[in-house]
């Protein structure tokens, strides 16, 4: 039985249709990455699947229970760590996890045992009896994750779990998510970070303006886009001319900023000399050149027409080449 089934799910806020009839299926034991920019409808979708918001159209089921008709059963089987960490600064970490255990209906002794085990697991044993208000952002996220796990949920919803965290804290959360998944937990993860979706997700759904615009494994999505592209850093004032020259060699891609030219090349590295020669003949100075294999950002661009992350260069397959 799939862990999550969504059919034609919709949510309107007055005139605004925040989620416009989405369909998706998440198999048990999968990590599903829900990728999209701010305002795409990710959080609205999560809130509907976790029964915090009623859909205005369509249907969805989680762990075999309808999110509207069987909301209480859904809540018994899911763990949720929302975008806002939703912690009480006056409580200690241990008190919070124990409260969560009580909310989930665990007997007191079992709740205490789970609290101690989870605090240890997320590396918060030493801070367990300090007030949450004294925790760093990373510690708060780890605590939130631990609280979501106290009742060993079948499906775990993580809404942008690493937004605002430093790279080390982000990696810690990723490791934890992988471990949980290895233990059999289905994870539905929303993110605006391409690398996060690429690294963690078995399947990725890309959402933009309330619609799913692409879905598949990260590799299949990238293969669908096809060709790598060359990314050129051009001297100021020559970008337009460089674009004209490159357009004769391959398909131009939407620019990330006003300094780079992106041109798709069918033959990968073999096309680099052609590009360099053409620019050289046109008298255009190239400050740097890289061959970039398709990334989820390229998938995003292909499906939506704009970049998800304007300034970050996706790491997969870059080959820096000096100008």
């Amino acid at each position: 039985m799939p862990a999550i089934v969504v059919e034609g799910l919709e949510r309107a806020f007055g005139e605004v249709l925040a989620v416009q009839g989405i369909d998706l299926t998440v198999d048990e034991g999968e990590i599903y990455g829900f990728l999209g920019p701010n305002g795409a409808g990710k959080t609205t979708t999560v809130r509907m699947l976790t029964t915090l918001l009623l859909p205005t159209g369509g249907r969805a089921s989680v762990a075999g229970h309808d999110v509207v008709a069987e909301a209480r059963q859904v809540r018994s089987t899911i763990g949720v760590a929302l975008q806002e960490a939703a912690l009480d600064p006056l409580m200690t970490g241990r008190e919070l996890i124990r409260l969560q255990a009580t909310l989930q209906g665990l007997p007191p002794a079992r709740g205490r045992e789970r609290a101690d085990g989870l605090l240890d697991r997320v590396g918060l044993s030493d801070a367990a009896d300090r007030r949450v208000g004294t925790y760093s952002g990373g510690m708060q996220r780890r605590l939130d994750l631990a609280a979501a796990l106290v009742h060993e949920p079948r499906v775990l919803f993580l809404d942008e779990p690493t937004t605002g965290l430093d790279p080390v804290s982000r990696k810690t959360i990723w490791e934890e998510v992988r471990d949980l998944n290895d233990e059999g937990t289905t994870v539905f993860l929303t993110t605006q970070y391409l690398e996060e979706a690429d690294q963690l997700a078995d399947n990725v759904g890309i959402i933009d303006s309330g619609r799913i615009v692409a879905e598949g494994t990260p590799e299949s999505l990238k293969d669908e886009i096809g060709n790598p592209h060359v990314e050129l850093l051009i001297s100021e004032g020559e970008v337009v001319e460089a674009e004209r020259v490159c357009a004769e060699i391959g398909r131009l891609l939407p620019p990330k900023d006003g300094k780079r030219v992106l041109v798709e090349v069918e033959n990968g590295a073999a096309d680099i000399p052609r590009v360099v020669r053409a620019l050289d003949e046109a008298g255009i100075a190239v400050e740097s050149l890289e061959l970039v294999r398709p990334t989820l950002d390229d998938v995003f661009v292909a499906k939506t027409g704009y970049h998800l992350e304007e300034e970050e260069a996706e790491a997969a397959g870059e080959e820096p080449v000096g100008a």
Partner: protein, 267 residues
């Protein structure tokens, strides 16, 4: 499988619900104990009102129609109920703040029944109301208020605690309806109006005709008279049951409205 063990060991629903209510009440007390000075405003406001009203209107007992010559005795139940009203309204404000901060989502996403989540907040307010009530009462006794007898005292405290619960239902309803702390003035003013549109300052017969009519239909009048009876005379069942009935009615109505809002948070 361990997950099955976790689920198989779940206690019966009534015990789990009680445990949840107790846990939420324990959390609510943190506000008083762990924030320095947090208890002061809740105690200060009714105390100032008690001392102020006593100092300003104390001479009214010279009028015919007052059952007592001690204005402290007459007015102390009003201040205790005012404290209950403020405490209940504060519970609503805290809920609104919790909503704005995302904490309420944590509660709503759990399998705990909505009435259980509400009960935790309301019962915590009810218990907390005994603090300002006791403080005001102590001051009143120092100033010479009449000892109401044990029965009168118990009934007064019961009225205070139940009024605080009703006020917390009112505050919670507004908090969940407006989802914002900006509804705080409405929470406070609503309870204040209800408590003062009664024979708060003078007996019913000495009120202006329009206020006398309003007080007669205001359920808080019965609550006040039940709370006051020991301080101005003897305790009788005839003066007690209308107050109990009024509170039962208020709790039923306001509790239902609050629960309705709790259930509609996902609309």
């Amino acid at each position: 499988m361990e997950a099955a063990t976790v689920r198989a060991a779940a206690p019966p629903a009534w015990r789990a619900n009680l445990a949840t209510i107790a846990a939420l009440m324990a959390r609510a007390k943190n506000e008083l104990i762990r924030v320095p000075g947090a208890a002061i405003p809740g105690v200060l406001a009714p105390t100032i009102f008690f001392l102020g009203l006593n100092g300003v209107f104390g001479a009214l007992t010279q009028l015919q129609g007052f059952e007592t010559g001690s204005y402290e005795s007459f007015i102390v139940p009003v201040s205790m109920l005012q404290g209950a009203g403020f405490t209940g309204a504060a519970a609503g404000v805290n809920l609104a703040r919790d909503y704005e901060g995302g904490w309420v989502d944590r509660l709503l996403v759990s399998p705990a029944p909505r009435w259980v989540l509400l009960a935790g907040n309301v019962l915590a307010a009810s218990l907390r109301s005994l603090v300002p009530a006791t403080f005001v009462l102590s001051i009143a006794f120092v100033l010479g208020a009449q000892w109401p007898g044990l029965d009168g005292l118990v009934i007064c405290y019961l009225m205070v605690a139940a009024t605080a619960a009703a006020a917390a239902c009112w505050g919670s309803m507004l908090a969940l309806r407006f989802k914002s702390q900006s509804a705080a003035p409405l929470m406070q003013a609503g309870m204040m109006a209800l408590i003062l549109l009664t024979p708060a300052y003078a007996p019913l017969a000495l009120l202006q005709p329009w206020l006398e009519k309003v007080a007669e239909i205001n359920p808080l009048t019965n609550v006040l008279e039940a709370a006051r009876q020991g301080f101005v005379g003897g305790v009788t069942w005839a003066d007690t049951w209308p107050g109990l009935l009024a509170l039962a009615g208020l709790l039923a109505v306001l509790g239902t409205l609050a629960l309705r809002e709790m259930r509609r948070t996902n609309v």
